[in-house]
């Protein structure tokens, strides 16, 4: 529907939009620009918008901060692992909740959402001794399991909504043609619910790539992820290393910023299916 705005309204809308743009993008731009600045230019006031870019910070990052790249590798393993695990689990669960219903399934669905609201820090207390005893502390496996678990509830709801959109007549037709339930699910329905899988996967990937608390508690060395390393460097850098830190931060954030902005369509689809309808 088209609406017309008076000049004053237009100015007000323009100002609000401009403020929201600076608010959202400004801090990110500040990081990325600082990573290409020489040390003396980073903290000039007012901030320099025009400067001679340098890649010194990146070269220094590569030559001196090997630990950061190991952590980026860890982050990638953990984020991909959690995405795949959560995707598989919520695909199967979403199918079951979409096609079958009884008093028991509806209660387990409510339970599934109820446990999702529990604060992550609470489960670290009982899991800490158990993970230690199983010899799993400081491994990627722990983080993958934790990250996937905190998303399977919502992603199952997302998948359920996408399965719901596939008419049940299709299932019946497949059964008449002699397909087994597994064949129906893995060959036919999987293809028709790919969008839901993509939507859910973005949430898990972004969360796992950026998470801090579990990484802080359950990793000490080998499995340290990029956010954890960055937080340590943030506390440790002395006056001369800010540019290098900004270079690291830029490398950490650019891939997910691209993912989120390019796949924004799926974010809306996922939120609509998982939260607004569910």
């Amino acid at each position: 529907m088209r609406t017309t705005f008076s000049p004053i309204e237009r100015v007000a809308r323009g100002l609000f939009l401009a403020f929201m743009l600076v608010w959202s993008v400004g801090p990110i731009l500040f990081i990325v620009m600082s990573s290409f600045k020489r040390q003396v230019d980073i903290f000039t006031y007012p901030p320099k918008l025009v400067f001679t870019p340098t890649i010194d910070n990146y070269l220094k990052l590569i030559s001196q901060w090997q630990g950061f790249f190991n952590a980026m590798g860890s982050s990638l393993i953990v984020a991909l692992g959690a995405t795949v695990l959560a995707g598989a689990v919520s695909f199967l669960g979403g199918y079951a909740y979409s096609r079958y219903r009884s008093r028991l399934t509806s209660w387990t669905a409510v339970y599934m959402i109820a446990v999702r609201v529990l604060p992550p820090i609470v489960v670290t207390l009982p899991l800490f001794p158990v993970i230690d005893r199983l010899g799993l502390s400081d491994t990627h496996v722990v983080l993958i399991l934790l990250y996937a678990t905190f998303w399977v509830s919502l992603n199952t709801m997302i998948m359920k909504n996408f399965f719901d959109q596939v008419p049940y007549e299709l299932d019946e037709a497949a059964y008449v043609d002699g397909a087994s339930e597994w064949q129906l699910v893995s060959r036919i329905l999987a293809r028709l619910t790919l969008q839901g899988l993509a939507a859910g996967s973005i949430f898990v990937f972004v969360y796992a790539w950026n998470e801090y608390l579990f990484a802080l508690i359950f990793t000490t060395n080998n499995a340290k992820t990029a956010p954890l390393i960055l937080s340590e460097l943030m506390g440790a850098v002395d006056g001369t290393e800010w540019g290098v830190l900004f270079a690291g931060v830029t490398l950490q954030l650019v891939p997910v910023v691209l993912l989120v902005t390019l796949a924004r369509r799926y974010l809306i689809a996922g939120l609509t299916a998982g939260a607004v309808k569910g």
């Binding site: 529990l118 604060p119 820090i121 207390l125 608390l213 960055l230 943030m234 997910v256 989120v260 607004v276």
Partner: protein
């Protein structure tokens, strides 16, 4: 069309419920047991009954953390809802370069809390930060968040809003798109002004979405940890702690698992209480449909 579950149905659901049971449900219940015991990092339990709860309730730092949590959570969530509603309304009524603007507004969603704290810390640094110095020259005085718990927690709130506004905005935006456009046309034909259309058509139809968003955000803000821990470490003198930081300090710094577990169990109950409205509604719709 729904069928009664069969044996294979439970098989399809089993990976899901196995994960939830072992990693979320059992640990959360075990926290209750831990909270009734003294232990060394969760091993060598000695029964102490309600002593941990008594200790928590007599601890001034716990009450400080609880009050801080209450103020930060409420401040953050309501500001965010208002901003999200304004922004979503703006986008629905049309903005130039829509796709690009949309992408820009979503960007903070992709940023780690660690990075968010880092950048805001830099920009708000009392001696070198660009925003801090602009605010100072605008007459707001030196905003020294590391010395004042109130300013520190305000900055925590700002960072929290910055990272989560995209979520709130998206939820409300999706809710707005779901409203049937013919309702607006009908209202317009009846001579309703734009403000009347917003108040009488949009807002009432948006109430369910706003409620869900509110509950989601309350629950998520309630567990806030990283922003506070990375910005102030709960200081100065433990004055800016929130509940999750209080729990972490006692569990993993002071080695007092009993006290931490008692706090944890109360956080479990608090979260479930916040979620109960939503869960009841959901249970009804799952059974009814």
């Amino acid at each position: 069309m729904h069928r009664r579950p069969r044996l294979t149905t439970w098989l399809y659901m089993s990976p899901l419920h196995l994960l939830l049971l072992t990693i979320l449900t059992m640990p959360s219940l075990y926290v209750l047991w831990l909270s009734l015991n003294e232990s060394s990092y969760g091993t060598g339990l000695t029964w102490v009954g309600l002593d941990n709860y008594r200790a928590v309730f007599q601890d001034g730092y716990f009450w400080r953390a609880a009050i801080n949590t209450f103020f930060v959570v409420n401040g953050v969530v309501y500001v965010e809802l208002l901003l999200g509603l304004a922004l979503a309304t703006l986008f629905v009524s049309g903005v130039p370069f829509r796709g690009l603007m949309f992408a820009c507004v979503l960007m903070p969603y992709a940023i780690s809390e660690v990075v968010a704290v880092l950048v805001w810390k830099m920009m708000m640094d009392p001696s070198v930060g660009a925003i801090a110095r602009s605010l100072e020259s605008a007459g707001f005085g030196m905003l020294n968040w590391s010395a004042s718990p109130a300013i520190g927690l305000t900055l925590v709130g700002v960072i929290n809003i910055w990272t989560h506004l995209p979520f709130t905005f998206l939820m409300i935006y999706a809710g707005l798109l779901a409203i049937d456009p013919s309702l607006y046309e009908a209202a317009q034909i009846d001579g309703a002004t734009r403000w009347q259309r917003f108040m009488r058509v949009t807002l009432p139809l948006l109430v369910p979405t706003l409620l869900i968003t509110l509950i989601f955000r309350l629950i998520f803000a309630f567990r806030m940890f990283s922003e506070v821990w990375l910005l102030t470490k709960g200081g100065p003198a433990r004055m800016s702690e929130v509940l999750a930081v209080y729990l972490y300090q006692h569990g993993f710094r002071y080695g007092d698992f009993g006290l931490a577990s008692a706090t944890g169990w109360m956080m479990v109950l608090g979260s479930l209480l916040l979620a109960s409205v939503f869960l009841l509604a959901m249970q009804r719709s799952m059974r009814g449909a």
